[in-house]
């Protein structure tokens, strides 16, 4: 019975923040002048720094052969965790035991030099990632074939297209053969076809019995690739378990900006017969969500306040814009064929969208309501929400990022 391949116990990483810091780096000049000043007011000297725990009392085990997705919002400590595991930064507290050779891929093409040729960079990058010269030579042809750069091997990589560059860089890393592979968000680069190839290669690596730790914002990739997942929030472990369960926990986790108070918005138009006062997202069962997910049922909930009765012929509409302000779609009770002839005493309005078709990203919405044919409340850019990527088609596959902003259900027939 073998123990865990990675054992993390009470891990903590503290960063000291310098509030007064104006420059990107410390200059001795500033330190000296600061010290000199603090001689005269010693009580103030402590106030200029504060501690920030990027990782806090983190404990978990990873078994050999696990494919673990690490999820969490920006600043949750995912990258710091990977850097500690990769021995790039020192932890402040705790202990990690790793049984085996660990290679990390935190960036594509670390150490690539633009002046050197593709061939030279393969050797250099391989050495930087911890491969021996012999290993690289043995894998050389495979790497070149995977990257598809045979014709440009002796061209300096500064003349490469960005696609070729990324392909070559990933190819070197993909041919590392450690027992544990740590990968940070590297699939976010490169063209669609190559991303597919990378994902396939990562799956192959993982299926080969190696342990993979994978950080990504692409939930579809995590769903597809990982058997288990870890959810980090503010440097702490929230859940660890089967990927589907952890993803659900992640999406349900509130406390983010998904709930919005709209009652104080001054920039509204209309007679105020009905006003939108709050907004939140929920799932089908009414549990609040921090973000919507492509392919899942999403409910937009609005708190409403009725100012004057009677409320007849109420119309409500929601326009959804993408991050560029482009109107994507329009939801309204009118087009849905629902007439609200009377709405007195109503406090909540919800719009249910089954199999949410928008891609991951940030969206904003505009709200409109009218009562008796008169504008009651009109809130331009009333709020926004976030969509996490998800398995819309139920196939584990989604079109490439540059192939549009929403999904359409479809099927093929070959005859």
């Amino acid at each position: 019975m073998s123990g865990p391949i990675i054992h993390v116990e009470g891990l903590g990483k503290r960063f000291t923040l310098h509030h007064k810091q104006r420059e990107r780096y410390t200059a001795l000049r500033d330190v000296l002048s600061e010290r000199a000043r603090s001689l005269f007011r010693p009580d103030k000297s402590q106030a200029s720094t504060s501690d920030f725990w990027a990782l806090k009392d983190l404990s978990f085990d990873i078994q050999a052969g696990d494919r673990v997705g690490i999820i969490g919002r920006n600043g949750a400590g995912k990258s710091t965790l990977l850097k500690v595991l990769s021995r790039i930064v020192d932890p402040t507290k705790g202990r990690v035991t790793i049984e085996g050779r660990l290679a990390s891929l935190l960036e594509v093409g670390t150490g690539f030099h633009p002046e050197l040729s593709g061939r030279e960079n393969i050797y250099l990058n391989g050495a930087i990632l911890g491969m021996s010269r012999k290993e690289i030579t043995a894998k050389f042809d495979e790497i070149v074939a995977f990257a598809d750069v045979e014709r440009f091997l002796d061209t300096p990589v500064k003349r490469y297209s960005s696609g070729m560059y990324v392909r070559l860089a990933f190819a070197v890393a993909a041919h590392l053969e450690p027992e544990i592979l740590v990968v940070d968000e590297v699939l976010a680069v490169g063209d669609a076809e190559f991303q597919r190839k990378c994902l396939g290669k990562m799956k192959e690596v993982a299926m080969g019995g190696r342990t993979v730790l994978f950080v990504s914002h692409n939930m579809a990739a995590i769903q597809n690739l990982c058997s288990t997942a870890i959810y980090l929030k503010q440097g702490q472990l929230i859940t660890q378990g089967a990927t589907a369960d952890v993803l659900t926990a992640y999406l349900k986790d509130t406390g983010s900006a998904a709930r919005m108070d709209l009652s104080e918005r001054p920039d509204r138009q209309g007679n105020g017969a009905i006003r939108f006062t709050g907004f939140y997202l929920s799932d089908e069962d009414g549990r609040e969500l921090a973000a919507a997910q492509s392919g899942a049922t999403v409910v937009f909930n609005f708190d409403i306040e009725a100012r004057s009765a009677p409320l007849r012929d109420v119309k409500v509409a929601m326009g959804i814009d993408d991050q560029y302000g482009q109107r994507i779609t329009h939801l309204s009770n009118e087009v849905a064929g629902q007439v609200f002839a009377q709405a007195d005493g109503m406090k909540r309005l919800s719009i249910r969208v089954p199999r949410f078709p928008l891609r991951n990203g940030n969206y904003t919405f505009t709200l409109f309501s009218s009562v008796n044919g008169e504008i009651a409340d009109y809130l331009l850019n009333a709020g926004g929400f976030h969509v996490e990527s998800g398995d819309y088609f139920g196939t584990g596959r989604t079109p490439a990022e540059d192939q549009g902003t929403f999904f359409v259900d479809h099927s093929f027939n070959l005859s």
Binding site: S2, F15, Y25, T26, A27, L28, R29, V31, A64, K83, V84, L85, S86, R87, I88, V89, D90, P91, T92, K93, G94, R95, V96, T97, I98, E99, G100, R101, L102, S104, L106, E107, T110, G111, H113, E115, L116, E120, Y123, L124, A127, I128, L129, G130, S132, R133, P156, E179
Partner: protein
């Protein structure tokens, strides 16, 4: 799979098996040195000539200054040879010191993305400068051939003094490199040290000009000996010109002790701050 390769990460655990790791990563050291050389020769049109042109110009200038101020040269030895024997170690020191001091900041992308013993970076830059020195030593050989001068048996000591130069430049370089990560104003110190060093190092003149001059107060002579490069340069001259360039042993002792102390301080400080490089750089 019982613990054939176990890594334990704890606060300050960087020291366990550090030197073993360093040995394991020797391939990376060679690759980085090779990268710096390859890039240099790709970017510059005259490539390898740089390693020759720079010392040649410095030798010319130093020869002129030495001649102008009438520094002592032994009978029968051309001044240019005496100057050349000092310029080579000085150039070695100057490039390896300044490249080492900048090595961490210049490779910050590696520091924040990959693990390897950080000493690899300064070591690889010193290696590159050492290769430059070997190329530059050809100048010495050509000049000696031209003046038909054959060095005595002391020449076998030359590698010892090359090592001493390496110790001085590495010690100072490591210290400044580590400090430079935290306090970026140390980078302004680097060109100053190199420039100032040339005035207080016996390149245009010889140590005999200093130690043998009764007008210079004793205290100042000791201060002069505190320059770690004095020992290296005197050693080079002794190795090439034998008894005509005798070593002033007290000065040599002080100077080489300071070299060693500097190396120890440099390594200790570097090792102590190393684990925080990725956080602060």
């Amino acid at each position: 799979m019982t613990a054939k390769h176990r890594v334990v990460i704890e606060p300050g655990s960087g020291s366990q098996n550090y030197w073993g790791d360093l040995w394991q990563y020797r391939g990376l050291l060679l690759f980085l040195a090779w990268r710096d050389l390859a890039v240099r020769y790709k970017q510059t049109t005259i490539g390898v000539l740089w390693a020759v042109v720079r010392p040649l110009l410095t030798i010319g200038a130093m020869w002129f200054i030495g001649w102008l101020f009438g520094s002592n040269v032994p009978e029968g030895t051309p001044r240019i040879l005496i100057v050349c024997a000092a310029t080579l170690p000085w150039q070695f020191f100057a490039t390896s010191f300044s490249e080492t001091a900048n090595s961490l900041v210049a490779n910050s992308n590696l520091l924040t993305k990959v693990y390897f013993p950080r000493l690899i970076l300064p070591f690889s830059t010193v290696l590159v400068s050492a290769i430059d020195l070997l190329v530059a030593l050809l100048i010495m050989v050509v000049l000696m051939a031209f003046y038909a001068y054959l060095p005595g048996p002391e020449v076998v000591l030359l590698p010892v003094f090359i090592l001493l130069t390496l110790v001085s430049s590495l010690g100072a370089g490591l210290l400044i490199a580590a400090l430079n990560v935290k306090y970026r104003d140390f980078r302004y110190l680097i060109p100053f040290i190199v420039q100032f060093g040339l005035y207080v190092t016996p390149v245009a003149f010889t140590s005999q000009d200093v130690f043998g001059n009764p007008d210079i107060p004793e205290a100042l002579k000791y201060l002069y000996a505190c320059n770690p490069m004095v020992a290296a340069v005197d050693g080079f001259r002794y190795a090439l010109f034998g008894a005509s360039q005798p070593i002033h042993w007290v000065g040599f002792g002080i100077s080489s002790c300071i070299s060693l102390v500097l190396l120890i301080i440099g390594i200790v400080y570097f090792r102590r701050t190393e684990r925080g490089f990725a956080d602060t750089i």
